[in-house]
Symmetry: D2
Subunit: 305 residues, 4 copies
């Protein structure tokens, strides 16, 4: 049964109202700090990529870590299970632990969504494609149906200038023998991927292959049914930083968030959601987007649990 | 569409065959060490507790940590969300970390399924009922429809004698001011709960309330829809020790395992599964039970992802 | 050259004045909480146990962890280097780490002065003597020349009632197979040892064997020269909880502190010092005693560095 | 009483014989890997820099981390106690912990001898001098009396190429706001300092200010008596990587080792020692040098304890 989306969107928007003043916009780079914290967008894409939305759902924002699901999918499509020898699929544990864990576990990051894991995946995509950036952009343009999807050079450069933490992780991975490409090349591609600019509509569409059990927008197969299921499992366990349990508790869907304020969530076999609000909670997840997804799943009863 | 269970069970049993010789039966107490490692049982209970099964599905075994989902449900039914102030709902991180995490997080265990978290839940059930053991046994008899479900005194006593690790955790919790009852009382109830003896059929039935979104076997409400969803979310994230990611990856269902070799898994809105095989893999999960659940979900395509 | 102790004591006492109002008396058991925080005593014993002192140097106090140097010496005298297979001689690292380290290092405590290490030493002394308490008391009576040195039963019982943390450590050690005696027996002896009541004069004398390179008060040999040197090395590295570096920096002497407010310090080949003031700094070391030892070493220029 | 050095050296050399075949020469850069593992040198410099030695005591080697005591002294001479706000003076804890500790302690390294701490000191020396390298070289030439002391450009470049771990630490420090100079500049100076090439004779002389309570070779004051004592205290606690306790136990002297196989040790008020042997034990300390220092202190009875 398809719900009345207009009514639903109104209710979701009302639920989000009270939290719009709270949280903190990411301010470690100027390009993110400048975004208006009162923005809010929400979009739903069904399996046929028929998309509807509300609010600022067509306003582009920096997708940041949401890019990690797409690089992961592109590498998995080629490497299959072999990728899981380079990166784990377990929860990340505590955030203050990222270097500690990486050291103790000899450079096998906990999962592909912690930064170290994403660096490993980027390194692999770089090896497979020679040009990870272009491969990713073409994929997103095709899936979203929007040929204007692109990087934001200012964001990428800002990230690079302020990215000491990611540089530290990349050097540590190199020290442990886990990178095939030079540290500088991996970091550059990583920062560019994070700088991709998309809106809720495009993101909901672009992630559709995870709701379609691995089929791309043109119904060609990107991932096997089993691989698609596995990406969703990893998203549930590690897609929202160290708040995975809390998020699964409240929303009950596999999802991936970014510090640009976006969250993509999957209802396998049914649809894809994307919510956006720039202000973040203490875990780095968008306050408005979590609230919207919570309201939406409560109202529809759609949950995987 | 209901599958042909007879065919399914045959295929599942065939898939389990090759692993029956592997793994290690838990041997820290004599009562567990004596169990025949070649045993294998599998049961499915639909929402109406209509149950079918195969192999040793009516042979009782020690449910051990599977008891944790039932004590959790009984406490949640009374305390509701207040319980989550005493115990978290995040993944447990690494196994070598249990004391470290507990210390750092000031006695708020990561989730109700790590031993420290289960001690907290037991302490609370003890406060709420005055006799946690009897409350739990009566609940399980009612849900399973089997009035003979009972504790195994020898197992309970063995656990107590060899339970230095749990004693250490309980004393640490007491030191951090997290227990309302005396350490000895909490430990005693805890060890008794672990000693419960049930078979696949009874366990599949008893966990039915999690597939029925909170409704008990008699269709009275134990948990709200939202609370039931949350228990499933915590099971997915912390139900199979430190292999939660791997299990979600392979099986894709909320589940709880015990060192007695049993695993209960939930397909919300559809059915409950219980698999049993005494020999364990390196994470403490039954090798045969994981294999059986993997085969079953692959064959049916039933997964939450 | 022997300094004019009267002048020295006056200067040390003046230096201590300003800190006498600060710090916190240990209050986890009533017997310690009741002590007057304004007390201050200081004693020096030369190699011939000729002792002089100032202030409350003859007022008895609870020696607590200072007892650890004596149990260590008694076990070393019999076991020699074999003891170092059971307990390490490295610094303890961070305080929030005690359980973590013990787990990671499989029950070999960092050194004999962390609580876990002292439990190991007590367990060993219990095995060697059958009655660790009496052995320790007789040793202290003989070395101090005071036949009235004794335990304080009220303190011992209080410790036991509030000793969840030590109970947790002992059970963890038992779980890791590191104790030869029952947990309860080890804990009981441990708590009794901590309850020993002595004054600065007696303690300075009793530790004299460490300044005499292993010779007891009657000049019989307790430890080899090399063993005595090693105990001093471990004291420097682990004798003042997690402030060993800071203490070595300020005072520059091997020393052992207790939460009763006492600190014993050794100047090998010259003399033994004992300072006492009940109020503790944030690391659990006596504020007045550290200040006094700092002043004393600065004034005399006596330091091992 | 001055011992007969000729006899002593013979005994020390005999003691070292059996270990000369063991251990591993550091091989992470080619320049170190090429050194003959059978080399052994030993030198003693008295307070007047009158130096005698044996074996390969005039053969230059890469001083590596021994350089850390000299950069520390140069910074302390200007900054005094203010330096201890940037870097701690406590033991380093476990080696697998370096990143973990740095993160948890917000970029205040445990002590100036762990790599992160040395990077902080180098950053400071760079700010104070504008050219940390030249300042350090001139100091070492003056103290050793050898105007040929110099860097080895090949070693410095090799270090830089293989220094991912140090790069990771420096970026992490920068991320935590602990560096005043650009990461690249700090790293470059750091790698150059490590590449200094000196022999036992020069090193024993150059460290003489620590035996002379802060006075340089020309008897001008570099450090106050108290500061010199403190450097010795930090050396005892952190000078030999994670084997500080073991080393204090065996040798009982403040010392600093380097992966080039050298160890400098101080007997305050008496003399300075330098031992060299390229093959390292599991902690990264020279097997031959530790053995030589152990024999020397046992034979002479010279120890601070």
């Amino acid at each position: 049964m398809v719900p009345d989306y207009e009514v639903l969107f109104e209710q979701v928007t009302r639920a989000v109202g009270p939290v719009l003043g709270g949280g903190q916009v990411a301010d470690y780079i100027p390009a993110l700090a400048r975004v208006d914290p009162a923005r809010f967008g929400f979009a739903v894409a069904d399996l046929a990529t028929c998309t509807c939305g509300t609010g600022d759902w067509k306003v582009p924002f920096s997708i940041q870590s949401i890019s990690k699901i797409f690089t992961l999918a592109l590498v998995l499509a080629v490497d299959g299970d072999a990728l899981w020898n380079r990166v784990g699929k377990e929860p990340s544990g505590a955030p203050f632990n990222s270097f500690a864990q990486l050291e103790r576990e000899r450079g096998i990051p906990r999962n592909p969504f912690v930064n170290a894991g994403a660096l490993i995946v980027t390194d692999r995509l770089l090896t497979l494609t020679g040009d990870a950036r272009t491969a990713l952009r073409e994929f997103l343009r095709a899936e979203s149906g929007n040929p204007d999807v692109d990087f934001d050079a200012r964001v990428a450069e800002s990230e690079q200038r302020h990215g000491h933490r990611n540089s530290a992780l990349a050097h540590l991975l190199a020290d442990l023998g886990r990178l095939d490409n030079p540290v500088e090349a991996v970091l550059e591609h990583y920062f560019w991927q994070c700088s991709l600019t998309m809106n809720c509509r495009d993101l909901a569409r672009a992630a559709g292959f995870l709701a379609r059990h691995g089929l791309r927008a043109d119904h060609s197969r990107l991932l096997t049914r089993s691989e698609a299921k596995r990406v969703n499992a990893v998203m549930l366990i590690g897609g929202t930083y160290d708040a995975a349990g809390e998020f699964a508790h409240r929303v009950g869907l596999p999802a991936k968030s970014g510090v640009g304020g976006g969250i993509v969530a999957i209802i396998p076999g049914r649809c894809t959601l994307c919510a956006w609000g720039p202000a973040l909670d203490g875990h780095g997840n968008s306050l408005a987007a979590v609230t919207a997804l919570d309201a939406f799943t409560t109202l529809t009863g759609w949950s995987i649990f």
